[in-house]
Symmetry: C2
Subunit: 465 residues, 2 copies
C-alpha cells in the first residue's frame, strides 16, 4: 500500500513536469507542504522525492529543498491529454478536418465546403494582382501591412460601431495569429485566462502553448454567466478573456446588449484585457452589440479574418486596438514572423472590394438558413435537440441523451469516414460529454445522419452492457 | 547620497520587472542577498523595498520576504533597450527598412532591391495558380502543407547532403516562423540559447519574445569559436544554438568542414539542439558543409525559405527534422496560426519548378559578385575594410576605425535618407560598435557612399571635441 502512495506522488511530480506546471530549475513544494496538499505522510513524500532524485529528474540542494533538473522534454500539446483519449484533445478535430480524405464528410469541421466558397471572386482578385506593380509580388509588406486593406477594415468595423483609425489596425497572417500575438504581449506562464465554456477548441490548444491556467466561464444563451465571470475575477485575477460576441463558437448564441454592458463594468474594475474574436461577423443577419464598440477599444481588443467567408487559403487576419499597443504588437509580429504576407493582403483587398463579395455573403446567408433548418429536422429524427436555434452562422450546438459519450460516438463515425466535433473538445469543465457541434453547411448528405444514427445505436448498446 | 543609492535600487528592481527578469508573484532577492550583490548596506535595500511596496509594485508577506505584485506591464521588446538608444535595438534596422520611403537608400537592409527580383517568374506562377482546381484558392492547407512542395524541398536539401522524407518537412509561413515554432517547442523562460556574435539581429528580437537568456559565441572566419562554444556548454547548459552554415549573416563567412565536425562532437555530448538557418543557401557558389547533413537530422534542425531569392511577399518557409518532432511542431503550428498559407505554398511551388528560377539564380550570383567588388572598392576609398571577403551572398561585414560609433553614424545617415545596419545591432557582446553590415545589392548608388562619408566625418569631428 505504501509503495502505491509513493508511486502516486512520483506520478504526480512527473505530470507537473511534463505539463510544465513546474519548470526546470524550479523548487518543488516542500516535503511538508506537499504532504499536507496530498493528504499523505511526510515520510511518503520524502521517499518519493528520493526516488525521483535517483532517477535524475530532480535534485536536492542542501538547505534549500528539491529542484527540477533540466532539461525537461519539449512541449507537446497533445501529451497534455493522454494520447489514448485523443477525442478530447483540443487538436483532434482540427487535425482530422485538415487531414480529411476527399471522400470524408465533415459535419465537425469549422469551415464551409469548398463549393460554397467564392472561387471566381478569388480567381479574379489573383489575376488582378498578377498584373499590378512589381513590389507587391516580391517585397516584404510594411510593418502594419497594406494601407488600403487597413483603411477598408477601419470602415468595415465602423459599421459595427468600432472606431479605429487605419493606424490602429495591424494585419496578421490569420485570426489565430492575431490572438497569439496578443497572448504573447500580455501573458506570462501561469497567468490566468478566461474562456467561455464551451468555446472554440483551438483557444484551448493555443493557450496550452502559452502555458497558462485556463478558467472556463459557463456560456449562456445571452453571453457568459456574469456571476461566474465576476467570481473568476475575484478569485483568479485573470489577465485575458477571449470570446466571440457576434456568432459564438460553438453555440451560435449572441451577446445581448445588457450582458455586454454588465460584462464591461466587471472588466473595467479588473486587470482583464478582452479579446473579441469576430471571425464569423460577416455571417450575421443583424449585428449583435460589440464589446469593442461599447468600450471604445480601451480594454477590449477586436480581431477578425475572412477565412470563413472568403478563403482559408489566402491567409490574412487583423487586430484593432489602441495605438500604444499597436507599436509593441508590431515589434512582436516582426520578431516572430518578420512580415505578414504582402501578397495575401493585396489579394484579400482586391477580393473584398470587388462587388461580388457582398453578393456572395447575401447568398451564403440564405443558403445557411436553409441548411440550418434542414439539419435541425434531420437531427430531430435522431432525438437530437439544438441547445438554442441560432439566428445565423454555420454552427448548431446539440445535446444528446445525458448518458451518451459523444467522444466515443465520434470515433465510431470516424471509422465510417464522418468527422464529428464532440462536445468536450470545446469545454474546460468537461461538462459537455453528451454534446456535438454540427456545421450545418457540411450536413447536406444523408450519409451524415445515417452514420451518426448507427454510431449512437452502438453507443446505446455499449451503455446497456 | 543615501537617496541616490535607494533610487538606484528602486530603478534596478523596476528594470528587472519591466524586462521580466522577475515575473509577477515571484519572490525578490532577500534584503541581505541584494545588499551583498549590489555592494550596498542592508538598510538601503530595506528602505528601497519599502518605497517599492508603498508604490504597490511589490508586496511583503510576513516571514517570506517581498514579492512582485501583479500584473506586470505587457511585453515590450524595444523597451528592453532604452528607447533613446534605438540604434542598438534589434528591431531598429527591420522597422526602418520595412518602413522606408521610396526615395530612401537601404544598404542596411537584408534583402535584394525590388528590380533584382524575378517578377515575371512570380507573375507566371500566380497566373498559373489562378487557373488551378478551386480547393487551392479557398481551402485550408493540409497540416504539413503542400505535398508537392515538400517533395521538391526534400530533393533540394538532398543536394546539400541532408536526407529527409517529405513527411519530415513541415511548411511554415516564413523562415522566422520556422525558428519561432522550434523555440516554442524546446524553450521555457530562462533557458539559455547560444547565438553567434555577431548574428542576424532578428534572432535577438525573436529570442527576447521567448524571455530566455542569450549567450553570444564569437564568430570566426571559419565558424563559431569552438573554445567559447565548449565553455558555454559547460557553464550554461544551453538548450538551443542558432546559426547559419552556408552564408553567415552578417559576416558572409562559411563554416569549414573541420569546424562543423568539432562543433557536432561538442553538441553530441550536450543537451543542445541546433537550428541551422539556411536562408541564403541558394546564393552559394559551392556549398559549405551542412551540420544537418553531418548529423543526419538527429540534433540539428534545418530550416529555410525563399524570401531572399524569390519573393518576400509570397511567404513560405520550412522545417526539416526527425519525424517524432514534426508531429508536435505541427500541433503547435495549428494551435498558433491554424494553417500555413495554402496559396503561397502553391505559388512558390509553381515558381520554383519553372525553369526560370535556376536561370535567375545564375544571373543573380554574377550580379552579386560584381556588386561585391564594386562595394569593396568604394568602401576602400573611405578606409573601410571588410572583415573577410565573402565567397558569395549579399553581405559585407566591415570594420571602421576603432573609436567610431556606427550607431551614431547610422542616425546621421538616416537623416539623409540612407538606412545603415550598425554593428552592435548584431551583437550580444556589444563589441562591434565600429562595424557596419553592407548589403552589396543595395550599394549601387554613389549617394550611399557620399552620405556615409559625410556621416563619418561628422562622427570624427564629434570625437575630437
Amino acid at each position: 500500500m505504501k509503495t502505491t502512495k509513493i508511486d502516486f506522488v512520483i506520478q504526480h511530480i512527473h505530470e507537473l513536469i511534463k505539463t510544465r506546471s513546474i519548470s526546470a530549475g524550479s523548487r518543488l513544494p516542500s516535503v511538508r507542504a506537499l504532504a499536507k496538499q496530498l493528504n499523505l505522510s511526510v515520510s511518503t513524500i520524502v521517499e518519493a522525492y528520493e526516488r525521483l532524485a535517483s532517477q535524475g529528474l530532480i535534485e536536492s540542494k542542501t538547505g534549500s529543498g528539491f529542484f527540477v533538473s533540466g532539461p525537461i522534454p519539449p512541449l507537446s500539446i497533445s501529451q497534455i491529454h493522454p494520447k489514448i483519449d485523443r477525442n478530447i484533445d483540443p487538436l483532434w478535430i482540427s487535425r482530422q478536418s485538415l487531414e480529411a480524405k476527399p471522400d470524408m464528410l465533415k459535419p465537425g469541421c469549422g469551415w464551409l465546403p469548398d463549393d460554397w466558397m467564392p472561387h471566381e471572386n478569388i480567381r479574379k482578385a489573383i489575376r488582378k494582382i498578377s498584373k499590378v506593380e512589381s513590389k507587391i509580388l516580391t517585397d516584404y509588406s510594411s510593418p502594419l501591412g497594406s494601407p488600403a486593406l487597413r483603411e477598408l477594415l477601419a470602415r468595415k468595423i465602423l459599421g459595427k460601431g468600432i472606431e479605429a483609425t487605419p493606424n490602429q489596425i495591424l494585419l496578421t497572417d490569420s485570426g489565430t495569429q492575431a490572438i497569439d500575438l496578443i497572448c504573447r504581449y500580455f501573458l506570462k506562464p501561469n497567468d490566468v485566462v478566461l474562456v467561455d465554456d464551451p468555446c472554440y477548441f483551438n483557444f484551448h490548444a493555443l493557450l496550452k502553448v502559452h502555458q497558462i491556467r485556463i478558467i472556463g466561464i459557463p456560456y449562456t444563451p445571452t453571453g457568459p454567466d456574469l456571476n461566474a465571470f465576476s467570481q473568476a475575477i475575484t478569485q483568479h485575477n485573470p489577465r485575458l478573456y477571449i470570446t466571440n460576441s457576434g456568432i459564438h463558437n460553438p453555440t451560435g448564441a449572441r451577446l445581448t446588449a445588457s450582458t455586454a454592458y454588465q460584462l464591461l463594468k466587471l472588466v473595467e474594475q479588473s486587470n482583464l484585457i478582452v479579446i473579441e474574436d469576430d471571425i464569423f461577423a460577416d455571417l450575421e443577419l443583424d449585428p449583435a452589440p460589440r464589446l469593442a464598440a461599447l468600450d471604445g477599444l480601451s480594454k477590449v481588443i477586436h480581431i477578425g479574418s475572412f477565412s470563413k467567408t472568403l478563403s482559408g487559403s489566402v491567409r490574412t487576419g487583423y487586430i484593432a486596438t489602441k495605438s500604444q499597443w499597436i507599436e509593441d504588437l508590431t515589434d512582436i509580429k516582426i520578431a516572430t514572423g518578420f512580415g505578414g504576407s504582402h501578397l495575401s493582403a493585396e489579394i484579400l483587398y482586391a477580393a473584398l472590394t470587388d462587388g461580388t463579395y457582398r453578393k456572395h455573403l447575401d447568398e451564403l446567408k440564405i443558403r445557411l438558413a436553409k441548411s440550418m433548418d434542414f439539419t435541425i429536422k434531420q437531427l430531430e429524427k435522431l432525438k437530437i435537440r439544438p441547445w438554442i436555434k441560432p439566428q445565423a452562422g454555420i454552427f448548431l450546438w446539440c445535446e444528446l441523451a445525458k448518458n451518451l459519450d459523444t467522444a466515443r460516438i465520434a470515433q465510431t463515425c470516424l471509422e465510417n469516414n464522418v468527422i464529428l466535433a464532440p462536445g468536450n473538445a470545446f469545454s474546460q469543465s468537461q461538462n459537455y460529454k453528451n454534446f456535438i457541434r454540427f456545421n450545418v453547411a457540411q450536413c447536406s448528405e444523408q450519409k451524415v445522419f445515417e452514420v451518426l444514427s448507427h454510431a449512437i445505436q452502438q453507443e446505446i448498446e455499449l451503455q446497456k452492457n
